[in-house]
């Protein structure tokens, strides 16, 4: 079993890397401007709301009773939501454009590359991009004394996991999209998550039913994980967050690969 499996996995990794490599070659176009935009967005939110509104809010209590500055509270949520939006942008808008309008995947599928390898390759690329954002944002957080360097290091892989999970979800969503009008729904969905996932106010502030709904959403789990790390308040619930995101990653990738096969290999 293993001697057969290893070369198969190796080939899969190489072909996925070739798919991701296509995007590196495409970087020389105006695409890098889109990348810069994604980098700046969470920084703007951090300054306008975390620092600006934070000056009016003062300190707020964590579930354990500990008081933290508002910027400290908001910063990890901005990190999580930028990991989400970076991953979703790449795996919905860009992925859909390549599939339907540039017909790139049809060309790729005429080679040994398989649908699941396209999904893996595109996801890896989205993650490479997302990780760069996360790293830059964590540097800013440390510079502003919103977390410690050690916690920032620990928060980095967590933010990468968040990106992977949302990327896999985005790819599945892409295979369900009928046309550009559906993107309005994706944008709206992302914005609602961004506003209400315990990002700007603790979920405990909501009525019980709403709080329940909020706490099962993926961005809430992501914010909870990263905030737990950056504020040094880890518990069992963060283990649950990790499992939740892993399940989202594996499930999304599996469904996306299957649906791509059905869409493109008819």
């Amino acid at each position: 079993m293993l001697p057969r499996l290893l070369p198969a996995l190796d080939g899969m990794a190489r072909r996925s890397a070739a798919v991701a490599g296509r995007n590196v070659a495409a970087l020389r176009t105006a695409y890098w401007l889109v990348l810069l935009g994604g980098l700046l967005e969470p920084v703007f939110y951090l300054f306008s709301i975390g620092v600006g509104v934070g000056a009016l809010v003062g300190e707020i209590p964590l579930p354990g009773g500990r008081l933290v500055g508002y910027a400290e509270f908001v910063a990890p949520a901005m990190l999580a939501s930028s990991a989400m939006s970076g991953a979703l942008t790449e795996t919905t808008f860009n992925f859909f454009g390549k599939m339907k309008f540039m017909r790139l995947y049809e060309g790729m599928l005429a080679t040994p590359v398989r649908p699941i390898e396209i999904a893996l390759g595109e996801l890896s690329w989205a993650m490479l991009r997302g990780s760069l954002y996360s790293a830059a944002f964590l540097v800013i957080m440390v510079a502003m004394d919103l977390t410690t360097p050690l916690r920032a290091l620990a928060a980095f892989p967590a933010s990468v996991l968040v990106g992977f999970a949302f990327g896999a979800l985005g790819m599945t969503v892409s295979t369900l999209i009928r046309g550009w009008q559906d993107f309005d729904m994706i944008s709206a969905g992302m914005f609602v998550l961004f506003l209400f996932s315990g990002t700007f106010i603790p979920a405990t502030a909501y009525p019980d039913v709403l709080r329940w709904i909020v706490e099962v959403t993926p961005l809430y789990r992501s914010v909870d994980l990263i905030r737990g790390i950056s504020l040094g308040s880890l518990g069992f619930v963060q283990l649950l967050d990790v499992l939740y995101l892993l399940a989202m990653l594996v499930g999304g990738l599996f469904v996306a690969g299957r649906r791509m096969e059905r869409l493109l290999c008819r």
Binding site: G11, R14, R22, R103, E106, A110, T111, P112, V113, R114
Partner: protein, 307 residues
């Protein structure tokens, strides 16, 4: 005799619609094989099954001795595919299109660059290596797609309507390059609804209509079997060319009435034309020509190839 493509009773269904309705095909190494037929005959569906991107709905199919259902990636590694609609990467340059594509086959970057440069010279696009794809003309894009199909030095090249949508000059340039590939011993399989393309390039072909194969052979065999040596095309100054059919009876083997002209299938065209004038029929124009695959198709299906 080993066939590169071996199909028996091959079927492709999309829901209730049967696109390919039980075809038998064998393609041998080194030959140029064509699927000739009108739009909707099932040519592209057949090509997609051969290209291992569309699973057959029934029947037997072996490509390069392997099973497409199980060995898809291994087969595709040895195929070159030039699709009907260009799917070149608009965000990459001409050269990068080839190098990136080579990576999908696992070809090392350095080897890919060398091979890409050679191929660009072969399709006469060497000077456009650094250009984006969009500004290229249709003929250039098609040549680039052909070059891309050759990047892995394939055993079998699939070309789906290689010159559809190109102007005559661009078509001839593509034909000339494909002819060179054929001379190099590359096995070509192509679909077309142009009979001149089939006659130019194919050693052997099948005529498809409604998902079935209606005839098979070399262009010459098909013409000999299904048509006469010559054809006289007559146009009469009337709305209904059919009124003349009776008056032409007996001149050749067969009379075919089309909306805009009447075709006389005869052994000797000039002799037949003399007979037409002797019967004091006066067509507004007349033309004597050799039989072509168009006539074969008309004979076999009762329809013209290009509607």
């Amino acid at each position: 005799m080993n066939s590169l493509i071996h199909a028996r009773g091959l079927v492709k269904r999309f829901g209730d619609f049967t696109a390919v309705d039980g075809i038998d095909v064998d393609v041998r190494a080194g030959e140029a094989f064509g699927f000739l037929g009108p739009n909707g005959a099932g040519k592209s569906s057949t090509m997609r099954m051969i290209g291992c991107v569309s699973p057959p709905s029934g029947g037997e199919l072996r490509i390069l001795g392997m099973d497409p259902r199980r060995d898809g990636p291994a087969i595709r590694a040895r195929l070159g595919v030039c699709p009907q609609l260009d799917n070149l990467d608009p965000e990459l340059t001409v050269l990068e299109n080839l190098v990136t594509y080579a990576r999908f086959f696992g070809i090392p970057r350095r080897a890919a660059r060398e091979r890409a440069a050679e191929l660009l010279d072969f399709v006469q696009l060497g000077e456009r290596a650094g250009s984006k794809v969009d500004p290229l003309s249709g003929g250039m894009k098609r040549r680039l797609t052909i070059a891309r199909a050759m990047i892995n030095q394939p055993d079998l090249v699939l070309l789906d309507e290689p010159t559809t949508g190109l102007d005559p000059q661009a078509r001839h340039l593509v034909w000339e390059r494909l002819f060179r590939l054929k001379q190099q011993g590359v096995t070509l399989v192509l679909t077309t609804h142009y009979m001149d393309e089939a006659e130019q390039l194919c050693d052997r072909l099948v005529v498809m209509d409604g998902g079935r194969i209606v005839a098979e052979g070399s262009p010459r065999e098909l013409i000999e079997a299904h048509s006469t040596r010559e054809v006289v095309e007559l146009r009469f100054p009337t709305d209904d060319q059919g009124t003349y059919a009776g008056k032409l009876e007996g001149i050749g083997e067969r009379v075919e009435v089309l909306p805009d002209r009447v075709l006389l299938y005869v052994g000797d065209g000039d002799g037949a034309l003399t007979e037409v004038h002797r019967r004091s029929l006066s067509p507004s124009s007349s033309l004597v020509r050799r039989s072509s695959l168009e006539d074969v198709f008309l004979r076999l299906t009762g329809r013209t190839l290009v509607d």
